[in-house]
Amino acid sequence: MPLFSVFLLEGTPSRLLSLSGVDILIVAVYFAAVLGIGLYLRRYAQTGEGFFLAGRDMTAWVAGLSFVSANLGALELMGWSASAYQYGILATHWYWIGAIPAMLFLGLVMMPFYYISKTHSVPGYLQLRYGEQARGLAAVMFGLMTVLMSGIDMFSMALVLRVVLGWDIHFSIWVSSITVAVYVGLGGLLSAIFNEVVQFVLIWLGALLIPIVGLVETGGWSGMVERIHHNFPGQDFTHLWSTMGSFTDNPMGIHWVGIVFGLGWVVSFGYWTTDFLVVQRVLAAKDVRSAKLAPIIGSAFKMMVPFIVILPGLLGLAVLPFKLVGQSEAVATGGHSYNEVLPLMLARYCGPGLLGLGITALIAGFMSGMAGNVSAFSTVWTYDIYRAFIRRRAPDQHYVSVGRWCTIVGVLVSIGTAYLVMQFLSIMDYVQALFTFFIAPLFGTVLLGMLWPRATPAGGFWGLLAGIASSIGMWLWVRLDPSALRYVALSPHARPMAENMYRGLWCWIVCVAVTVAVSYATQPKPAQELTGLVYGYTDLPSEGHLHLYQRPIFWACLVGGVFVILNIIFW
């Protein structure tokens, strides 16, 4: 899930880090490598299936790493490190309960329907299950949000590079976006997936040194906790659940009900199971078993990400000789903000060469997120808007050309958005809010479509529309009358994160209720039209002949068991 904490444009301090020659060489080698991979893969992206779905030929490992890498953007790395400094280990909830159950559910329950239906996208599944109206609504919302989000990521990246390295904003925007446009435009999803796997490895190897050396400095976990208690007496930064009995007992101002049902259910399941940006990677798997295994493999790596994201934030609490503050206070006082904790830790432990690798990891994270957005946009625009509503019958080659042009147009729109945000920072809040309007109701629509045969085309469309409308309505209500927060988020003291989670929960309920009501009032689809789309009407391949260790359910249980144990250890 993206976290949108960004650096404010005005009043930024001088650069945090200086790169040596070898660091710049490491960054340059990375750019050369991603462009080289794109050029090499061009010959393999000549057909529609090759360009948009990587030939449906990826192993479970490649699809799984790409799946988790598309989400592991640099804003995610820097944003959640900042949150760990601010809120402590509570930020881990976004990696564990806010991701693992949903990823396992996607692999075991939903992926077989996405894969067997032979759809090329999530809106494509809606068309098969509910018809053109639902597909059109989802495709337009998703396409719009994706390029706008890509622009915001691009702007944020340029801003971070300016603050951290002193790089010119325009240089960062154009160099990174042209690179992404070239390698995705040439090699399509295959190129995006290849680069995401490379980026995933670089992110880990670039960021892993901070927690290792940090733990050496503090004398291990217990030494780190001792230092945090010494530096911040009376505050609890190292327990996941024990402080969540009341809104006021933890620094995040959130109750366990909001975390479990808002984050762990609606927001997390909505994002991980219906956001096409991540689902597209798994659709490229070579068979159903690989498609089921890919999110499970991804979930195992996702569970480990707090080691390179949350731990540096906690180590910052323990070892930094000064206290980090909020962005506005940092601007006013000339101090350092929470957002700078990861670069500060990088500067603390990493000399020449290692610093270049760490910065390359951040740039790789930014570019993997941007490439994910652009490749998903290209597929949805070409298949779910252009082919569905503009030109129905054309040769496959024509759609590949449209896809390549869409990649370039998507990047240009993203650049335009980046410059628009530069002029009007408040646009960022609106676009991010729009994204959350869409994901939670879509999860209700897709889930009912897969598990409830009685859901009708009219029910699916009106349920999705009502869910989106109710989410927008609640958001506007709180903006116009802040006291409405007590109704939407069940507490007048709820923070924005809590408001988002409760709003997601309510609009999901509205979507499900309207879908059910309208479905009972309208004619269901005949059974033969539900084949391959709905539970009970789909022949799922038997796994009885496989060894236990080859079955996705075995690995899902293993990951689920580790997930439970980790939550108990850090309770």
Binding site: V29, Y30, V198, L202, L205, L209, V319, Y349, G353
Partner: protein, 74 residues
């Protein structure tokens, strides 16, 4: 990957990049060992650059040679 005949494995690209980075980081670490900087990083005595560079070289070499494209052509 059966669909793409002759496609070089992704792990070969990963290995190549790690190998290059390993050599660069090891080189930078050794240079620091010979000429210590005026403002060293915290725990510079661990010489993280040297052993991290070596780790990247070992990992990179394993992937580079195991997935070397010509090996699979023969």
């Amino acid at each position: 990957m059966q669909h793409y005949r002759g496609l070089i494995s992704i792990w070969f690209f990963v290995g190549s990049l790690l190998l290059i980075y390993g050599v660069l980081i090891l080189g930078a670490g050794l240079y620091e060992l010979v000429r210590p900087p005026q403002h060293p990083v915290v725990l510079a005595s661990l010489h993280a650059g040297i052993w991290w560079g070596l780790l990247l070289i070992v990992l990179g070499a394993i992937y580079f040679f195991h997935f070397f494209p010509w090996r699979h052509k023969s």
